[in-house]
């Protein structure tokens, strides 16, 4: 019985959740992402690292088509989620985003109660038929985001009244509540203090069991701590992609090596 599960997990590990080929992104005339191709595995934390302005956020936003909301932005190339082209005509970005959740750099809770923040997605997608079901979804999401103990007595108070770290965990709970399959995180800890950061990092490690997590980070230590795979971007190019351990100890490209040893910043 135990053995069976082990095998199942081993198979999952190799599942490719997202595969991108020849992705180009333009902001007007600015060619921000050039020929990027990458296979992102399920039940894995994949880190995007690279100097700022190299296109990490831009590429991340391609994965849930958030770039659609920017007028000047144009995306080309193939991105497949579970083998399905997400840029295809018949794919509705609204449905895609229900499957691919996102957490932003700056915590952005809605100016509503903690409960309403978490219940927002489930309500929209009609995931709960009764109030009790909704309560349960909210509780599960808050527990998953390690916020339940702090928030359970103040679910009716404003989400914007929480501390920065709590707000970010609330945003994670909000994203988790819609039961996405992929969780995109754009520098989720950049606005947080070290304690809140380590809480969120622990959380990311736990989320790996259920989700495919992609995290953008400017901190190499963070990438090393939480991720199994790392992709290094430089000037819009994907320079190197592989096991995190290998990227950090034995990079193949000299640009990766310079970045890791602190020569490109």
């Amino acid at each position: 019985m135990n053995d069976m599960r082990l095998i199942e997990r081993a198979v999952d590990m190799d599942d490719i959740k997202i595969s991108a080929r020849d992705v180009q992104v333009y902001y007007g005339d600015n060619h921000a992402i050039k020929d990027v191709g990458v296979d992102i595995e399920d039940k894995t934390v994949t880190a995007f690292i690279g100097p700022s302005g190299c296109g990490k956020s831009t590429f991340l936003r391609c994965l849930n088509r958030m770039n659609d909301t920017i007028d000047v932005c144009r995306v080309e190339g193939d991105i497949h989620l579970d083998g399905e082209d997400i840029n295809a005509r018949q794919v509705d970005p609204v449905q895609l985003r229900a499957k691919v959740g996102m957490v932003f750099q700056k915590p952005n809770p809605f100016p509503k109660s903690i409960y309403e923040n978490v219940a927002y997605g489930p309500k929209i997608h009609g995931m709960a038929a009764t109030k009790a079901e909704l309560d349960e979804i909210v509780e599960t999401a808050l527990r998953r985001a390690a916020l339940w103990d702090e928030a359970k007595d103040r679910l009716d108070t404003a989400g914007t009244g929480l501390s920065g770290g709590q707000q970010q965990r609330l945003c994670i709970a909000r994203a988790v509540a819609t039961q996405p399959e992929v969780l995109l995180m754009d520098e989720p800890c950049s606005a947080l203090d070290p304690i809140a950061t380590s809480q969120v990092e622990e959380l990311i490690d736990e989320l790996r069991a259920n989700y495919c997590v992609v995290i953008v980070t400017h901190s190499m230590q963070q990438a090393a701590r939480v991720s199994q795979k790392t992709a290094f971007f430089h000037l819009g190019n994907l320079v190197e992609y592989g096991e995190t351990g290998k990227i950090f100890t034995n990079p193949e490209d000299e640009r990766t090596e310079s970045y890791i040893t602190g020569r490109i910043g």
Binding site: N64, M66, T69, D71, V94, Q95, L96, R97, A98, K99, G101, M102, F104, K106, N108, P109, F110, P111, K112, Y120, G121, I124, H125, A158, T160, C171, R174, A175, T178
Partner: protein, 458 residues
């Protein structure tokens, strides 16, 4: 002459500024140490005192001198014409003054000539005194502040005190003016209520408005001062206007902020604001000449009687007038809702419509409510459109197709009517006061509502 003097004072102040600053700089160099206040503060201190002394002397002497001359001359005239009354004395004085200043007067006689002569002499003296005092005051202030420049002089602190007091005076003027207006409203209102023996219920709930019909018998008829028809008209027309303006304005704002691309926005927004600049008279005759006949003809064609002046015509056009206020203000607040909130909602798989309805509008609600309150105040206060398109007859009717009138229109009718101002002022001021109380209550209610539904975001 006096006006030139008035302009001369700031010039003197500028000169005092430069001199004082130079002196302070020189002093600092000579003493080899830092001054307590920097040179420009010494300059400012000097300039401020020159302004205060110069303008102060000018204003005081002008006002006091004028009053003095008036009294002395009046005394002489009343001595010369003990049998006449103040009306006649005033006439003599004004004739004499205009003669002295070289204008044509209605008639001349020896008394008038004598008074004119006295006036010329006194006025000339006053003029010279004023010039002397103003220039002297300014010079004294400049000299005194100049002498006061030392290393440890606290010129900056002193100038800041002067400026602070100046600001306080301005604030007081604004507040006192408001209080004065409210008090004169209250005063006239009380007088009016006295005239109807405080039968407030007849005023508040009476259904006939014809306050001047009894004035020739010398009495205000309490049965004819019911404001219900006026407020019914105001409410009806405001309601129609808001039914037009709120949906159109709000949806226009949502379109502009969340759907229109940059180019559309760059054209539409200024055009909307242009609409807000059209004088209401223009809307008024548009309503009277175009919209009202159109409504009447349309009504005729489908067999409904529409009066040629109707609340509907006035309300519709007023609504159009208010659209830009609501759309422009709402657009500003909707645009200022952070993009990060929209992104948060979209990333959870919400549609654009859901995002706007559930996140953007609630966050922008306080601003939208103030926009609507502003719109309602505009509608209540608007007079021109109603005069032209809805008529002046205080009919009590619930039918928007009939002629109606509003509170503001009745105020205009009273003040511009044939009845003398003394009599007409009572009802007019009372209407004004009632309107004031009503808008005040409405504003307070709106603020309460906003405080209750406010969703704070940073």
């Amino acid at each position: 002459m006096l006006f030139a003097l008035f302009l001369l004072v700031p010039v003197a102040a500028a000169a005092a500024y430069v001199t004082a600053r130079q002196r302070a700089t020189a002093l600092s160099t000579a003493a080899g140490q830092r001054l307590h206040s920097r040179p420009q503060h010494h300059g400012l201190h000097s300039a401020l005192w020159v302004l205060i002394a110069g303008w102060g002397a000018l204003i005081v002497l002008t006002v006091v001198g004028e009053a003095l001359i008036q009294r002395v001359l009046m005394a002489r005239i009343s001595d010369a014409l003990p049998d006449e009354g103040p009306l006649q004395w005033n006439l003599v004085l004004s004739d004499a003054r205009s003669f002295a200043q070289g204008a044509v007067s209605s008639e001349m006689d020896p008394l008038r000539e004598r008074i004119a002569g006295a006036f010329s002499w006194m006025n000339g003296t006053r003029l010279w005194l004023t010039v002397l005092a103003t220039l002297g005051g300014a010079a004294a202030a400049a000299w005194w502040t100049y002498k006061g420049i030392t290393v440890e002089a606290r010129a900056r602190v002193q100038s800041e005190t002067i400026i602070r007091r100046g600001l306080a005076v301005m604030a007081t003027v604004a507040v006192l003016t408001t209080i004065g207006i409210v008090f004169s409203l209250i005063f006239e209102t009380v007088r009016f209520f006295n005239a109807i023996d405080w039968q407030l219920h007849k005023f508040l709930f009476g259904t006939t408005w014809s306050p001047l019909s009894g004035v020739f018998e010398g009495e205000m008829d309490a049965d004819k001062v019911g404001i219900v028809p006026l407020f019914a008209g105001t409410l009806m027309i405001t309601l129609i206007a808001m039914l037009v303006a709120v949906p159109v304005g709000l949806f226009a704002a949502i379109y502009l902020s969340d759907f229109a691309n940059h180019r559309v926005r760059a054209v539409v927004k200024p055009v909307m604001e242009l609409l807000a600049g059209i004088p209401t008279v223009v809307y008024g005759f548009f309503a009277a000449i175009t919209v009202a006949p159109l409504l009447r003809d349309t009504g005729e064609a489908i067999g409904i009687r529409v009066a040629s002046e109707s609340a509907l015509a006035a309300g519709l056009v007023m609504g159009i007038m208010i659209i830009p206020f609501i759309s422009s203000l709402s657009d500003d607040v909707i645009t200022s809702v952070p993009q990060s909130l929209r992104d948060g909602s979209l990333s959870l798989g919400a549609t654009k419509a859901e995002t706007i309805r559930k996140v953007v509008l609630p966050a922008a609600l306080p601003g939208i409510v103030s926009a609507i309150v502003l719109g309602v105040s505009k509608a209540i206060g608007e007079t021109m459109i109603v005069v032209m398109a809805a008529g002046q007859g205080p009919n009590l009717t619930g039918n928007p197709l009939e002629a109606m009138t509003t509170v503001t229109v009745q105020i205009v009718a009273l003040i511009t009517g044939d009845t003398e101002a003394e009599t007409a002022a009572g009802p007019a001021f009372t209407l004004g006061f009632t309107l004031f109380v009503m808008t005040l209550l409405m504003n307070m209610l709106a603020q309460r509502l906003v405080a209750r539904f406010r969703e704070a975001y940073d």
